[in-house]
Amino acid sequence: MMGASGIQVGDVVVIERAHLERLFDALRQRGYQIVGPTVRDEAIIYDLLRSAEDLPIGWTDEQEGGYYRLKRRNDAAVFGYAVGPHSWKRFVHPPALRLWRAERTDGRFRIIEETETLPPFAFIGVRSCELHALAIQDRVFLEGAYVDPVYKARRSGAFIVAVNCGQAGGTCFCASMNTGPRVTFGFDLALTELLDAERHDFVVDVGTERGAELLGDVPYRAASDAERAAVDDLVAHTAAHMGRTMETAEIKELLYRHYEHPRWDDVARRCLTCGNCTMVCPTCFCTTVEDVTDLRGQRAERWRRWDSCFTLDFTYLAGGRVRASAKARYRQWMTHKLATWIDQFGTSGCVGCGRCITWCPVAIDITEEVRAIRESESTGSAPSPGKEQ
């Protein structure tokens, strides 16, 4: 049945796989640029999509520490994979952005502010951990004393089609971080893919008026109790099959107790300080700026680029670097993610997506590093947290 009206926030409906394209059409008609997962360079990344056929249909991934491979599925699932190297921060907090330009004439210069006019994004296939990551970045860029206008414009206009994960990846641990796998907030529509020999449908939770309105252009029917139960079962199954786990009880205090721990030296011997973990992390927000000029020195530009606390220059101060050793840089990253972030923003900076584990070239595993420090307390191998003085 066509639902032109009468659909409400909180309703659960079913859209057949065959009608997924209609959802894309409806978004396009409303002026959204549609971004979602697609296969490129042997990975599932996020990019502009022309149609639902650009989605990674029939693909899945295998993920382990330092390992990512695409594999063909034996079905035509549309969302049958875990998260890849990209995250949505690439769109709301772009990797490179010109902040302003300046022109110099006769000994004075004038700053020309950038104004960005982009069509709003529609994000397709946003996972629960990623919604949490967006909410965490909201706290950084929207909820403090200063607001990042670029983030605000890109984020607030975005239409979000979330997806409940039907399977857990090999490095996933959202269940430990209480960030998934079930989508609970921050979406306009949330899809759960139900696929077996008889059917291929999406159960859709309607999260906003905007989502309800969109469904006016997409054929749907009400979801049955059995279908709602199937969603619950699927998500529960995913939650039970996480590739990783992390004990988070008093994790802030744990790490604050162990700024000096032999494990940091241990991980420093493995860490290449390449910064991959920070690039793939959906919450890492650090940036640097680059001031460039033309050859005549008449025009200058200021660019903002993603930066990583693993670079030496990150802490450059007159006279040297605050964090010169790999140990100090890894400790900063992990302690920020899991401990200081809580003091700064009231939440963990980790959503358990597992990207930092998968994309670490030497398979450093944040869950393993936490475990090692935690277990050293019970085995007595941890140094007593002594203080100078």
């Binding site: 302003w100 210069f109 700053i111 860029f141 700026v289 200058a300 802490t315 101060l317 006279g319």
Partner: protein, 298 residues
């Protein structure tokens, strides 16, 4: 957050590697073609330089805050404001030429343009310190962010008890603001004690680290607020010495420095444990960072 255009009104040489830029807002587009008179670099002379027309005012700042100074095409650096907060026409920044941007800033001439963003960050607790003795402890260029506090205290001298400035530099040649120090010292109610790490030639003053001055500085520890800025190791030992003399830990404030790109808590570079030095600091209660200061490479 884009920089606002300012003109260099004057550049003063302070020491061999340190200088002070006095900046005034550039007048509006199309009106700023008239050049400011070219002043000369005068190290120790306070010659008033006439402005061609009444300048517009600079944004109000509180002692201890900083600005981001942008030099066209070169880059941007965080520099604490070192001028008088009561002066609404001029922004003063004392800068040590140690990097690409600061070295280029040193080459500026009166009339040259720089961009200014700010003011940013926290400030010295001067209101909270009213009714108390005040101990200001500076190491090297750490005197620069404390100078606005000195101006404010001298302007409202009756609000404070005894006030003492303890200042340490590497050598006598590194002492900033010599003329002003002498003037402050001439106030009967403002003590200035100076020490150097390495005495040269005709230095007849104190030799040793600034912490050695704390024991004999005249203040009542139980009714004192201490504010300090300098190398972290200096601040740690000075704080320890203050506590030893009986100053309550929560009345000690330090000003920190970290790499900063944005100054508004977005770029992440200035993190010091849970602290964003740009927005939580640069002035921080010592109690909150006491333990963190002992961790190497934090």
């Amino acid at each position: 957050m884009v920089p606002h255009p300012y003109r260099v009104r004057r550049r003063r040489r302070e020491t061999h590697d340190t200088f002070t830029l006095e900046l005034q807002p550039a007048s509006r587009e199309g009106m700023d073609d008239e050049r400011l008179p070219l002043g000369q670099e005068d190290a120790e002379r306070d010659i008033p330089i006439a402005s061609p027309q009444p300048p517009s005012t600079v944004p109000a700042f509180l002692p201890g805050q900083f600005n981001m100074l942008y030099l066209f095409g070169v880059g941007e650096v965080p520099i604490s404001i070192s001028g008088d907060p009561a002066d609404s026409t001029t922004l003063a920044h004392t800068i040590r030429a140690v990097g690409t941007v600061t070295a280029a800033l040193r080459a500026l001439r009166p009339g040259d343009m720089v961009g200014v963003r700010g003011p940013f960050g926290s400030h010295w607790p001067l209101s909270d310190a009213e009714g108390n003795d005040v101990v200001l402890i500076a190491g090297g260029i750490g005197l620069a962010p404390l100078r606005p506090a000195v101006y404010r205290i001298l302007a409202e001298r009756a609000k404070y008890g005894r006030v003492v400035l303890l200042y340490g530099t590497r050598t006598p040649a590194d002492i900033l603001y010599r003329r002003e120090l002498a003037r402050w010292r001439s106030h009967f109610d403002f003590d200035v004690l100076i020490t150097v790490d390495h005495a040269l030639g005709n230095w007849r003053g104190n030799v040793g680290v600034v912490t050695t001055l704390i024991a004999r500085a005249p203040f009542d520890p139980l009714n004192t607020v201490a504010m300090m800025c300098g190398p972290e190791v200096m601040m740690r030992f000075a704080a320890r010495e203050l506590v030893r003399r009986g100053v309550p830990v929560d009345r000690i404030f330090i000003s920190m420095e970290r790499n900063m790109k944005c100054a508004i808590g977005f770029c992440g570079h200035c993190q010091f444990g849970p602290t964003f030095v740009c927005k939580d600091g640069p002035v921080l209660p010592y109690r909150g960072v006491k333990d963190l200061l002992t961790i190497r490479e934090l």
